[in-house]
Symmetry: C2
Subunit: 475 residues, 2 copies
């Protein structure tokens, strides 16, 4: 279907081609808005829209009071090597280590590289806080009764809207609101498995979902995962042939902890594999809306023909975790998911749901995610520079396609569990790699967060961390 | 240990004895405050305190502008007959019926006798709403980050305080905050059992906990329960001898749906039974703080010597369900409970926890529960009168010792599932008895709520309901 490009898209297209053909190169200043207005005979806002589009694509960057410049392309760093976990179902351990990290008191003095917490100081969150405050002042009594068992309709309607950007056509009845993504994942796992079943996971993968596997009396089979392309589909197929796997739990878009986004083609292949072996897919899309790509990548759910994909998400990473609003699009498992969500924690509080619904409907959510995406992308590039500069030779770094966490693989002689232990007395905090394995692998890796601090603070943190690591050369 | 009675307690004691010996009889006006001030040579506030104490005990009642009178004693109605459920472990069914009730849209025009919802229009809730509104206006940003994995310390400290009234000596570290009591029960069940284990429950019992048993792949064994004394300890012991029961889930204080409170002696015996057979007790105390007794009855947890009791509660019934703040005192299962709570829904929102902590600390929670206890007790007496007057002969009614729900047992020829179906087109809503059995028993029973409407509205609802029931005489 041929579509006519809008004016601003035409201008963006011309500029994009000029950059790709090398007419403008890295660091070049682009024509001023005034110049383009007269050249194309369009309004100022049309040119602004064109520049905004290219900025979203990461092709150009705005410098305050100087205009627009062709962005510096970040060379992808030396990437971590594909993980090679044991290909057999195992019981998840590591809870004591996870608990220790969860219990760690936040020390405001420290450079916090440990928790996957978003930046909550950005001004684009103000409309949400204002709305919550307004609701509480004007309609505090709505916070008293239970809400609908599936969640407030106003919010489910707005989630239907934002899900279209990931290629999903949903209906409010297809959604169940949860207490964050953790509850979503936990409920979905219980909905599609029986105790002692086997669930395939990426390796490394998020400790919260692995602990949910443990608590549901399931076994995990860790599938090798590549920091560039994601889950190895070949390894998955081998595992599917060999073991009676019941479901696969994946974070294919802006993965935690690696940051990769699987290609659309690979997502399709993964879905087809699930079809062939008749297993269900629990898709964790919690970072999807803060992918650096525009438009954001499609979900596996968007290819779902027979309802076997349970899409889980929340506003914890894109907005704030304390809001505790997550959701499930459970496909054919809707009734089971509704049951388990009800027994898990009954209904969700109404007020945060209404505030988020308003945040989305007013356009403030879109503005906020646009803003933080740029912020996080700059954070990524800066953190990678710092690591390259200060960490020992042989360090490999993942190259996240969104969000604010990355994965560092040190030379095998280094022990990040030891670094982690030492970091407690230092000015920096990290998440050791072992948390992201069912059985304590990745002992030379770590996950670092780059959402919160200033560039200067982050660099200081990285220098401190590099010193802790290099101390091991003397052991 | 001999303790000296305070002045007001001495006066209350004299008056109490005068009532018990018949010096004052039902309906008699008691001496005015002025008279007692001069007779006992004490301050006005001391006499007021004495009268307040007796009012709490239900012995006397205040009539506006007239003074204090000896309360009319409500004769306990014809009580339901002890249930005789099948004494073998069974799978819980009934989810579709529970779901239908949960999905029912609230119709403000209807006399709502169905849901166990507290009265949320009382002015004594204002301090909570004001605090929430203030927090949101002044400190909205505290709603953004995660709170402590076990819940906000300020709240845990306050729960330690109120738990002393039920005889418990706890420490903030002994507590885990949850998303309401449903999450508390669900987490505890998973913490003390393995899939396929057997859990003993009262019969009838709360559908939410039975559905949690179902979702955790457990079997329930229903223990006969008497509407006056509660769980039959003889039947429980027989079941314990015969089956490998892992845990017992009970609501021994202001039971849902019956309203009884087990005696302290029976609670102790139940605990000793649990010790002998080495099983754990999940004690649901959600209605405990709105018992009509003053001081409120002790929990089984208060006798716990070896940490086998997991005490679950929340502010859903005593304050408001939409707040979603519950808690567990998990005893020796603390680590397992912390793990399962974390995977279940991660941390709880901070702001409602702070608001509740303030509500308790300021004394407003005590004032509120004192107020609603009296309100609910009047509601109980009125509803029982209405039922006696309008329902068919042979109706038996439980005599709740707190809260705002009671259990009605009709003659066996009546079918409350049919009444429930017809009530959907009527002006009244009920909860059919079948919801409170694992396998659809109690088809001639129903649970009625008396928290919300005015006496007039409730009577109209009861008349409508009586008509629906009596229609069956013509079938």
């Amino acid at each position: 279907m041929a579509t006519t490009l809008k004016l601003y898209e035409q201008i963006a297209k011309v500029l994009r081609e000029n950059i790709h053909t090398g007419l403008f190169v890295e660091g070049d200043k682009l024509p001023s808005i005034r110049q383009l207005v007269s050249e194309f005979e369009v309004s100022i806002s049309t040119v602004q829209q064109a520049y905004h589009q290219l900025e979203m694509e990461g092709l150009i960057e705005a410098r305050p009071k100087s205009g627009y410049f062709v962005a510096h392309k970040m060379d992808s760093p030396d990437l971590p090597i594909t993980s090679r976990p044991a290909q057999r179902p195992i019981e998840v351990s590591q809870w004591q280590d996870v608990l220790e990290v969860l219990l760690a008191k936040e020390d405001k003095q420290k450079v916090q590289l440990q928790h996957a917490m978003p930046n909550m100081k950005v001004s684009s969150l103000s409309p949400l806080l204002k709305k919550m405050s307004w609701l509480m002042r004007q309609q505090a009594e709505i916070s008293l009764p239970y809400c609908d068992i599936k969640g407030t309709l106003a919010l489910r309607e707005q989630i239907v809207e934002i899900a279209t950007y990931s290629g999903c056509v949903l209906h409010p009845d297809d959604l169940v609101i949860t207490s964050g993504c953790q509850e979503a994942l936990s409920v979905c796992l219980r909905a599609v498995t029986e105790p002692a079943d086997i669930v395939a996971v990426e390796s490394p993968s998020f400790y919260g979902s692995m602990q949910a596997i443990k608590a549901a009396n399931l076994k995990a089979i860790e599938i090798p995962t590549n920091s560039e392309n994601g889950l190895s589909l070949e390894a998955l197929e081998l595992a599917l042939e060999q073991w009676p796997i019941k479901a696969i739990l994946v974070t294919p878009t802006v993965n935690n902890p690696m940051g990769f986004s699987m290609s659309e083609a690979d997502k399709k292949r993964l879905y087809q594999l699930a079809q062939s072996y008749d297993i269900s897919i629990i898709e964790d899309d919690i970072y999807g809306d803060i992918s650096y790509q525009s438009p954001r990548p499609k979900t596996i759910k968007s290819f779902d023909e027979d309802g076997r994909v349970l899409l889980c998400s929340s506003f914890s990473k894109s907005v704030a975790p304390g809001i505790r609003v997550g959701w499930i699009a459970p496909g054919r498992y809707r009734d089971k998911v509704t049951h388990i969500k009800y027994v898990s924690s009954s209904m969700c509080p109404t007020l945060p749901q209404l505030a988020i619904a308003d945040f989305i409907q007013s356009g403030a959510y879109a503005r906020h995610t646009r803003k933080v995406r740029l912020l996080y992308k700059q954070g990524r590039d800066h953190l990678i520079q710092c690591i390259k500069q200060h960490f020992p030779i042989g360090t490999r770094i993942s190259f996240p396609q969104g969000g604010y966490i990355l994965w560092v693989e040190l030379d095998k002689r280094y022990d990040t569990v030891k670094v982690y232990a030492q970091s407690k007395k230092s000015t920096v905090s990290i998440a050791p790699g072992t948390l992201f394995s069912a059985t304590g692998k990745f002992r030379h890796c770590m996950r670092l967060n780059f959402s919160e601090k200033t560039a200067l603070e982050r660099e200081q943190g990285i220098i401190e961390l590099a010193n802790l690591i290099k101390q091991q050369d003397n052991d």
